[in-house]
């Protein structure tokens, strides 16, 4: 059983999620704001927090910043209808293990929660597109070139995610195991979070399309 705290200010959306998470996932707490969510997560210490990118008194980023240090075991999965790159990249860089849009199907949401609970990363096609765009301009040298660039394989995996392929389909297509695909995605996530690329932030601000 995966214990989940749901943080979203839309009661209607929370009710919807409650109804579709199925038997493997239990919602142990719900909050509608940063102020409510922070003590709740500290107290309940859930496996996964489903986190709205936008909250009335701050963003998902604020929740992660407030509890991540004390509760390193808690995984965050960002959920949003807003797909402004700035918000998405912001919450990922704050420490979320993935990002999915609220239009995701119930089955995919269950799958994403399970994946994040196991420590994997979950990228929606849109996020994959954002990341490819942000890391687009070729190789760069620097103190930490490994962090600043995506490998050819990582690019390939991300591109297939953007094209709508599931991990299993990507594995079959690239003749890899699903575990390897997951490892590539996790590696991209790590780069996204640790990269010092100044461009990443600037890019996210400038990127106003879609």
């Amino acid at each position: 059983m995966i214990r989940v705290v749901l943080v979203d200010d839309h009661e209607l959306f929370r009710a919807g999620v409650r109804g579709e998470l199925g038997s493997r996932i239990e919602i142990v707490g719900e909050a509608g704001s940063v102020t409510e969510a922070t003590p709740l997560i500290r107290e309940l210490d859930p496996d996964v927090v489903l986190l709205d990118v936008h909250l009335p008194d701050g963003g998902g980023e604020a929740v992660i910043a407030a509890v991540a240090q004390e509760r390193p075991g808690v995984k965050f999965l960002a959920l949003s209808v807003s797909d402004a790159a700035e918000d998405v990249i912001g919450v990922i860089r704050a420490g979320a293990r993935g990002y999915v849009t609220k239009t995701i199907s119930s089955e995919e949401l269950r799958d994403a929660v399970a994946r994040v609970a196991e420590g994997d990363a979950v990228f929606s096609p849109r996020l994959a597109g954002f990341v490819l765009d942000a890391f687009r301009d070729g190789a760069r040298v620097g103190d930490d070139a490994e962090l600043e660039n995506l490998t050819a394989r990582e690019r390939e995996v991300l591109q297939l995610i953007a094209r709508g392929y599931k991990y299993k389909e990507i594995a079959a297509r690239l003749h890899l195991s699903v575990k390897t695909v997951e490892a590539h995605v996790s590696s991209v996530l790590r780069k996204l979070q640790l990269s010092s690329r100044a461009e990443l932030t600037r890019w996210a601000h400038e990127r106003r399309l879609i």
Binding site: L132, R136, A162, R208
Partner: protein
């Protein structure tokens, strides 16, 4: 305080000695007319103030000629002050101060919305204060300048503050009006449509998704109107397909370009691929990915539907051959269709970009 109350005074038509002014006052105040006449007579001894006041009220006459009346009242007040022993300069000082206050009051307190700077009032009050203090014989040389500064602060301070607040307020109201108009044109219309088609689930979800896209583009995108970039144009095409055929289109992109003629052809080909997927594949979701980099633009349209055998498509079904492959060829690009029965379809459209 903000407006001068209009006195209900009118000259009396029947109880009159000269022009009916005293009779009018008497009937307005409900006192004996003789008493009023006595007061006026006494005031007339004091430097002729009563006579001037009489003419002022005659001129005023129920608010018909306000300005002459004010001038006359000012003159009456001045002669009264002179009669009370104040020198000419002192009277002038008091008069200017009062005039300044009147200007401010007439303008509704000087600090109302859209209030322009009551320059006249400031000038009048400053001169008045200086004149009066000078006359009263302030030996301390600080008082004059101090009075000037004090007056300026009193009048200008609230005015500047109010102006700033008004400015903020106006910006806020403007933004609210824009948002309200937008919500009305889009969200409210959509909600009405949703209510009307409540029993038609695919339709409702297509309408909702279209609205979501529009709203998102407005909130985070480049604005409204016809698409000017490739990604915007693809988003529009995706919305049209969703509306017409009820499938869900998930759009992702990396990179974007300003729309030109060959890119428009690319969008049309992609739209055709989406339409085919929505109509024939039976999949309820279509993934579209746009990748634009320096030397090539690629669009992938993918579904997980029933797929088809390319060889089995009759030659007279010209959709794929003409609308997708032919169109891409003419635009200088190419199209590849990967599909087999049971495993979905992916259409890959590529268009090389001349190095610029």
């Amino acid at each position: 305080m903000n407006q001068i109350p209009v006195l209900p005074f009118e000259r009396s038509g029947h109880d009159r000695v000269v022009a009916g002014v005293c009779g009018g006052i008497a009937s307005t105040l409900g006192v004996d007319a003789t008493l009023v006449r006595l007061v006026f007579a006494l005031l007339s001894i004091a430097g002729g103030a009563g006579i001037l006041l009489y003419f002022a009220l005659w001129a005023y006459d129920g608010g018909r000629r306000t300005w002459p009346a004010i001038v006359l009242i000012a003159a009456a007040a001045a002669s009264l002050l002179v009669a009370l022993g104040l020198s000419g300069a002192g009277v002038l000082g008091v008069g200017l101060l009062v005039a300044g206050l009147v200007v401010i009051l007439v303008r509704g307190g000087s600090i109302r919305q859209e209030g322009s700077l009551p320059k006249l009032a400031i000038v009048l009050m400053v001169i008045g204060a200086v004149t009066l203090l000078d006359h009263v014989g302030a030996s301390n040389s600080f008082i004059g300048p101090g009075a000037v500064v004090g007056t300026l602060l009193l009048v200008l301070g609230p005015w500047v503050w109010q102006l700033w607040r008004d400015h903020q307020e106006r910006i806020r109201l403007q933004e609210r009006a824009d948002v309200a108009a937008r919500i009305h044109d889009s969200v409210l219309q959509t909600l009405a449509l949703v209510q009307r088609h409540a029993d038609d689930a695919p339709r409702v979800s297509a309408i909702a998704r279209r609205q979501e896209r529009e709203l998102r583009r407005w909130l985070y995108g480049s604005g409204v109107g016809d698409a000017v970039t490739l990604a915007d144009a693809l988003a529009e095409a995706a919305t049209e397909v969703e509306e017409l055929h009820g499938a869900r289109v998930e759009l992702a992109s990396a990179g974007d370009l300003p729309l030109d003629e060959s890119l428009e052809q690319l969008v049309l080909a992609a739209r055709e691929a989406m339409t085919n997927a929505a109509k024939f594949s039976t999949a309820d979701e279509i993934s579209v990915y746009l990748e634009a980099n320096g030397d090539q633009v690629a669009v992938f349209v993918r579904d997980r539907g029933i797929g088809f055998d390319r060889a089995g498509v009759p030659a007279d079904r010209r959709g794929v051959a003409e609308s997708i492959e032919g169109r891409m060829r003419r635009a200088g690009g190419s199209a590849a269709v990967v599909s087999s029965p049971g495993s979905g379809t992916e259409v890959e459209l590529t268009l090389p970009r001349a190095a610029q």
